[in-house]
């Protein structure tokens, strides 16, 4: 046994299962007597439902039942709830229109579920769905933010004036305006953050199961947080108490945020299973995923920075329109507010900041958190703005960043936008990244590329994010309708092996390995004797799940607390067995020792005594060695760092080749370096995808144009470069592990670095800014338009 504790690149324990085809994903599960659901969805963005005729479908071969919104409404079931309430700047609550599970009265986006066919086979359900006749009256629709807020725009929801869900501010406008009035210079930038579709490779799936003898429901679902789904669906939609509802999220094939939310299909299969008294399975076809998984991003912003003569940032003023889609997804309202505007200080000591966010309903798929969630939008805006300031003022872009950084000795640092950063060292991550990317050698590479007829550019992004979410009281005061602690149960078995029951959920992160490494480190148990269990409400005490890079910082901290309790109890048992005082017992490397003596008992001897309590302090201590802890974080954690992208553009085609990518991130304590590198690489690839390739497009009337992998450009292996990934860590000061989180940094830091590189490559072509994605046709047009001017010079 080599070193297996914190800091070891232990190979993943889940891999043999996945590499052998033994993974157990939701669609791999089949229940006896199982039926199949096929969901009929709106093929139009906005329409009144005048009637639904299901008679022919109900007579079709294999069909068991057909349900519509009227059937659910007849049982007074709830709509899909929203977990976060934002208040308008006048103090009134946001508009929160109903979100029926199956559409009632109107459909509001392409993909809105209208009816469900339950049949013996998938094909029979699908065939019968063709026989359902829905009579619609089409209504005018809006898809884009600017169209939705225009005067006289069609209303997505009756009574939601101007399609405004909320009009929210942070910061004092008068103070910021006064700074701008006195500034030497103001630099302004208008930009969009393109709408993305998360595209976890496993399409969503759900199986509802109903035990006809006990009346218990079980939902198997592709979820990042099964307890949250049990709470939301049980309490708000189907009115099933927790003791009668089990939610299992088995192996889940990627999430990136899109599998946090409570979706209609989960409620449909669970409810339908009770109605037909048989299991009901639904698996999304990819084309359904495109029109029903929550999308991400979709902002339009105007940003202005007030500067002094030397280029110091004096004040930041921002207005943002954020697309909510047709309904409020579970956490949607918090993304463009508390996960976005509170990050607008970034790594800079900008003294005053004002941001106004208007969240807008449109006839599009709901938008919610996607890898990074608000923080990529804030980072993209800031890091583009900083580069544009460098462009407009002529100040070197690295020097401009350096002179505005929050210094390493300023922590804890209170920003003007609510957050207090605990630790960081932005000069160091910058310095190391510049060295790793050979920043100083770039101009030679540019010249060499020019000789080959290529336009080479380099771009930098120095970023910060907030994760490890989140202190419950703080988020509660900001509108969260949930606590955001995490739960761990540590069970030391009689012979000393250990099972960890965690409320976090692994869908690619490797928790079965990293969380076990925490046990190796703290309890001194070999990795082979530790098992990690997650994803089942019947096994885990409770949990808030995995998102916002929280599993280690919050879930791992809960484990540390539970293991502290194990050790504290173990010391009492050890004191009894070795006839010593509890104060004299030390625990180290898996053994309880009497300090200053050679008397010792191994953990497995203590656990055996705990479960076979013959010689045991039974009057003072319960038998068993099994402890649970809830850990509520004291603050967010603040990973940050520096990303540098280098690109070459072929002027003949406009195609961008990513030639180098360098990331140096500060993620706090690293448990498994191999896994951290993998998380960063994956995040960077998604960021490159956003910057160069991906875009969820609607036509002006709300038809989804990018509805398949033929139309939505996913990054493939030859779109992504080999990457240089490193960490330069400062420790989180307020959690017991010092860990900050690494799941989202790649997707947050990289998009502005890539676009800054593209703009740099085109600096002779008169480009100050361009919006993502930097596709070949877009760049080719820019290059072509500049040719006559360049030729004349």
């Amino acid at each position: 046994m080599g070193f297996e504790g914190i800091g070891a690149s232990v190979r993943r324990r889940e891999d043999v299962r996945f590499l052998s085809g033994k993974g157990n994903y939701t669609d791999d599960i089949n229940r006896p007597g199982q039926l199949y659901a096929f969901i009929v969805r709106a093929d139009r963005p906005h329409a009144r439902i005048d009637g639904i005729d299901t008679a022919e479908a109900e007579k079709a071969p294999g069909v068991v039942r057909v349900f519509t919104g009227a059937d659910m409404a007849a049982e007074n079931l709830g709509g899909l709830p929203c977990g976060w309430q934002i208040h308008n700047q006048d103090g009134s609550p946001m508009a929160e229109p109903p979100h029926p599970v199956l559409a009632v009265g109107k459909v509001r986006h392409v993909g809105d579920p209208v009816a469900v066919v339950i049949a013996e086979t998938r094909q029979e359900a699908k065939n019968a769905a063709e026989l359902i006749e829905i009579r619609y009256t089409d209504l005018p629709a809006v898809a884009s933010l600017t169209d939705a807020v225009a005067a006289g725009a069609p209303e997505v929801h009756d009574g939601v004036a101007g399609n405004i869900c909320y009009d929210w501010v942070i910061g004092d406008k008068a103070t910021v305006d006064a700074v701008f009035a006195k500034a030497d210079r103001v630099v302004k930038l208008e930009l969009t953050n393109n709408r993305l579709i998360p595209n976890a490779m496993e399409p969503r799936a759900a199986i509802g199961d109903f035990d006809t003898s006990s009346g218990d429901f079980t939902l198997y679902t592709t979820s990042q947080n099964p307890h949250v789904i049990r709470l939301l669906m049980g309490a708000f939609v189907l009115h099933i108490p927790e003791n009668k509802l089990r939610v299992v999220a088995p192996d889940v094939g990627g999430g990136f945020g899109s599998k946090i939310y409570h979706y209609a299909e989960e409620a449909i299969v669970t409810w339908a299973a009770g109605k037909v008294r048989r299991p009901v399975k639904w698996t999304a076809e990819r084309s359904e995923s495109f029109m029903s998984d929550a999308h991400g991003r979709d902002h339009v912003s105007t940003a202005e920075m007030a500067l002094d003569k030397e280029g110091h940032f004096l004040g930041l003023r921002i207005t943002t329109l954020a697309n909510m889609g047709a309904y409020l997804s579970t956490f949607a309202p918090c993304v463009p507010t508390y996960l976005y505007a509170t990050l607008l200080a970034g790594v800079y000591k900008t003294p005053v900041i004002y941001c106004n966010v208007k969240a807008v309903f449109t006839n599009t798929v709901p938008v919610d958190a996607y890898r990074g969630a608000g923080r990529p939008e804030a980072t993209y805006l800031l890091e583009r703005l900083v580069d544009v300031i460098a462009h407009d003022t002529g100040i070197d872009k690295v020097e401009l960043r350096r002179k505005n950084f929050i210094p390493a000795d300023a922590f804890p640092y209170q920003t003007p936008v609510a957050l207090q950063y605990d630790s960081g060292d932005y000069q160091t991550t910058l310095k190391v990244a510049l060295a790793n990317a050979d920043w100083n050698g770039f101009e030679a590479r540019r010249a060499e590329a020019k000789a080959r007829g290529k336009l080479r550019g380099i771009g930098i992004s120095t970023y910060l994010e907030a994760c490890g979410i989140a202190p419950s009281a703080v988020v509660g005061s900001l509108g969260a309708r949930a606590g955001l602690y995490e739960v761990a149960n540590i069970r030391v078995h009689p012979t000393g092996s250990v099972t960890v029951f965690t409320g976090t959920h692994s869908h690619g992160q490797g928790h079965e390995t990293t969380l076990a490494q925490l046990v190796v480190d703290q309890l001194g148990v070999p990795l082979s004797q530790v098992e990690v269990v997650h994803g089942d409400t019947a096994k885990i005490p409770f949990g808030m799940g995995t998102y916002g890079s929280r599993s280690l910082a919050v879930g791992g901290s809960a484990m540390v607390k539970a293991m502290d309790k194990i050790i504290a109890k173990g010391k009492k048992i050890a004191a009894h067995l070795m006839e010593a005082s509890v104060q004299d017992i030390e625990f180290k490397d898996g053994s309880f020792r009497v300090a200053g003596t050679d008397k010792a008992k191994a953990l497995h001897e203590i656990s055996l005594a705990a479960y076979v309590p013959h010689n045991y302090p039974i009057e003072e201590l319960e038998p068993g060695l099994d402890e649970t802890a809830f850990y509520d974080p004291k603050n967010f954690t603040f990973p940050g760092g520096c990303h540098i992208a280098e690109v070459e553009i072929d002027p003949e085609t406009g195609v961008v080749e990513m030639v180098n990518f360098t990331a140096v991130d500060d993620v706090g304590r690293v448990v498994n370096p191999m896994i951290v590198e993998g998380q960063v690489q994956g995040g960077v690839a998604q960021g490159i995808g956003q910057a160069l390739l991906e875009s969820a497009l609607y036509d002006p009337h709300g038809q989804l144009l990018s509805g398949s992998y033929m139309d939505y450009t996913m990054p493939r292996a030859n779109d992504i470069p080999a990457m240089s990934v490193a960490t330069e860590n400062t420790m989180c000061t307020h959690n017991p592990l010092g860990s900050k989180g690494c799941g989202e940094v790649g997707a947050i830091g990289s998009p502005p670095a890539v676009i800054n590189a593209v703009v740099d490559a085109l600096k002779d072509h008169g480009v100050r800014h361009l919006d993502m994605p930097a596709t070949a046709p877009k760049l080719w047009s820019i290059i072509q338009a500049a040719q006559p001017r360049l030729a004349a010079e």
């Binding site: 299962r17 590499l19 085809g21």
Partner: protein, 161 residues
């Protein structure tokens, strides 16, 4: 209902299928071989890649009836009977070339065919181009490329034995 007879991972099966049944549906639903995944409906993602008579095929793009008389290998058929992993599986594990695991079976099956087809060696660029038909959303491909490069000499050394 028509019948198809095929060999899957060394075992012969005769199965009743509808004319429209896809090979992947046969594998997953009739034979219970759920290691082969379905990630899209446009033959773009490659999660369903298996070997048919030794060559990689997207099993969502082939009718079950077309496989009559064929020999099919799925991800479940790669490891030795004693559980020893195929060198490609082992290198994916060694180089952390998988995260959620969903694209992994198709990725491994494609990678094996790619390496088999290039006995004299593969450049990084050739590996990346060879993965054109397989999407991964987790890894950024970096470690997949490394794993395939590392498996190449192992597989060809083994073949030379």
């Amino acid at each position: 209902m028509p019948q198809v007879t095929l060999t899957v991972n060394g075992r012969q099966h005769t199965v009743d299928v509808e004319g429209r049944t896809l090979l992947v549906e046969l594998l997953r639903e009739k034979l219970g071989l759920t290691g082969t995944h379905v990630g899209c409906d446009t033959s773009q993602c490659g999660a369903c890649v298996v070997h048919v008579n030794g060559e990689s095929v997207k099993s969502c793009t082939m009718l079950a009836l077309q496989a009559d008389g064929d020999s099919v290998t799925t991800i479940e058929g790669l490891a030795a009977a004693d559980g020893t992993l195929h060198p490609m599986q082992e290198m994916f594990r060694e180089h952390h070339a998988l995260q959620c695991g969903f694209c992994t079976p198709g990725m491994v099956m494609t990678a094996i065919d790619l390496v088999n087809a290039h006995p004299s060696g593969l450049t990084e660029k050739e590996i990346r181009e060879g993965l054109e038909g397989n999407l991964c959303r987790c890894t950024g491909y970096h470690n997949i490329v490394k794993a395939i490069a590392a498996a190449h000499p192992l597989m060809h050394a083994k073949a030379a034995e």
